[in-house]
Subunit: 271 residues, 2 copies
């Protein structure tokens, strides 16, 4: 992959990288479209990264559809796809991990031990393998964005981290490859995530600034959905993921499916 990147660079072409785990949806396509606007060359990576799944999580059943991914990528005008095999990404004996202390241990990190070390390690490897000028991530995974921004800065990667808005279904549900796990009843219940965020944003717009009030509003709305088990509902700073702040972050479990969402309460909730 690097040889191609260096040739493009020699030719003065800028390179945008869109890291994905495949199972592409409209959220990914919006990242690719933005990368297309800002770069001469767009590279997408497709890699279901085993080390960012904690034991017992959904690595094995994570949706994989290489043929459909390839079709979507070619339709989106990608210049190159980087799709390493697991043994190429992590050959036997590989033991190096990139750890972003602090933020990696909170919320998503606490719920998914080792998750952000897996993310930070694979993203670092993608940056060294592709040497992009810009890399594109979705706001949907807000804490991942904070981890990636921090590691890029801390390790001097000469890459600009670009973040694109969450793409939502008509009822507000954030696009996610994991939505495919939901049966119709669960799919309806998943609407509680965006409903809770909308409620908190409305409260914020009406002047509510007390962290505990905002947090309770999120929590109460999520708990009102009988199929949802609340993992967390917090209002945090978007860089450190500690309170206080104005980023509402929520995680629930519906059946065996874990879903997350977030919204900057100082902005109107879309739709």
């Amino acid at each position: 992959m690097l040889e191609g990147s260096r040739r493009w660079r020699r030719e003065g072409l800028s390179i945008g990288l869109v890291p994905t785990m495949g199972a592409l949806h409209a959220g990914h396509l919006s990242l690719i479209a933005e990368a297309r606007r800002e770069n001469a060359i767009v590279v997408a990576s497709v890699f279901v990264n085993p080390i960012q799944f904690a034991p017992g999580e959904d690595f094995e059943r994570y949706p994989r559809d290489p043929a459909r991914d390839a079709e979507q990528l070619s339709g989106a005008g990608i210049d190159a796809v980087y799709r390493p095999a697991v043994e190429v990404m992590y050959y036997p004996g590989a033991s190096t991990r990139v750890h972003v202390a602090g933020i990696s241990d909170r919320l998503e990190g606490a719920a998914r031990p080792g998750h952000f070390d897996g993310v930070a390690t694979v993203v670092s490897k993608l940056f060294t393998a592709v040497e992009p000028d810009r890399a594109y991530f979705g706001q949907k995974d807000a804490q991942q964005v904070a981890v990636v921004r921090r590691l890029a800065r801390d390790l001097d990667f000469p890459v600009q981290i670009r973040v694109c808005p969450t793409v939502r279904e008509a009822d507000g549900l954030a696009m996610s490859s994991r939505n495919a796990y939901l049966d119709p009843q669960e799919r309806a219940a998943a609407g509680s995530l965006s409903a809770a965020l909308r409620l908190a944003a409305d409260a914020y717009a009406a002047g509510e600034r007390r962290p505990e009030q905002l947090r309770s509003a999120l929590q109460a709305r999520l708990e009102a959905e009988p199929l949802a088990q609340v993992e967390y509902a917090e209002v945090v700073d978007p860089e450190t993921f500690t309170s206080p702040g104005s980023l509402a972050v929520v995680a629930i479990r519906i059946g065996t499916t874990r879903l997350i969402d977030n919204h900057d309460l100082s902005m109107r909730f879309p739709g």
Copy 2:
């Protein structure tokens, strides 16, 4: 720094990096000479890396002589010196660490908690900041070499790790910036390191292969020096730093000074 490297690369020039903590001696100059032979451009970095010193170690008193370093570097025909301030290398809030699991916890890593995380992190940052084709390290720090080789491979850094032989004083003492700490009596006692390695190499040459016999020979010779306090004396594999192997590694403390050395027992000890 990166801008310069990318300009050189565009011009088709290869780049060699020699990372140092300053206090240059003949060992460093041999690395620079080798880098000079193999690359069009040679960059030296000078940075006393605070995070690779454990609390209570010699970070504050580590020898610093910028004027003499500059003179030696310019005499050696360096193309660029990368000498970041500590606040540039680690600005407030930086919290990312590169950890090479396994090897980082053994021997030097056990004696100096956090040392190899500090090394792995700063070397990763030097690689992203300079993007060298080759980087030069001394065999004197054998475990550091193993950590750096592993991290370069694991994180896909497109850099060749080149290792140069330990440069020794007439009596066999390995060149080290820390030798400056020794008073004349201690300096004489430091000869026990190379004496022990020579003894084990002679035993190996005479056919001794039993790990415990080789280890005891090292240990006994080091203990024969009344000023030396032995930290470890082992014979290990040079990649994993576990037994069995043929790399003899030793660490002693003389007064407040900690010294290390090593030798591949399958080779004749020099001198």
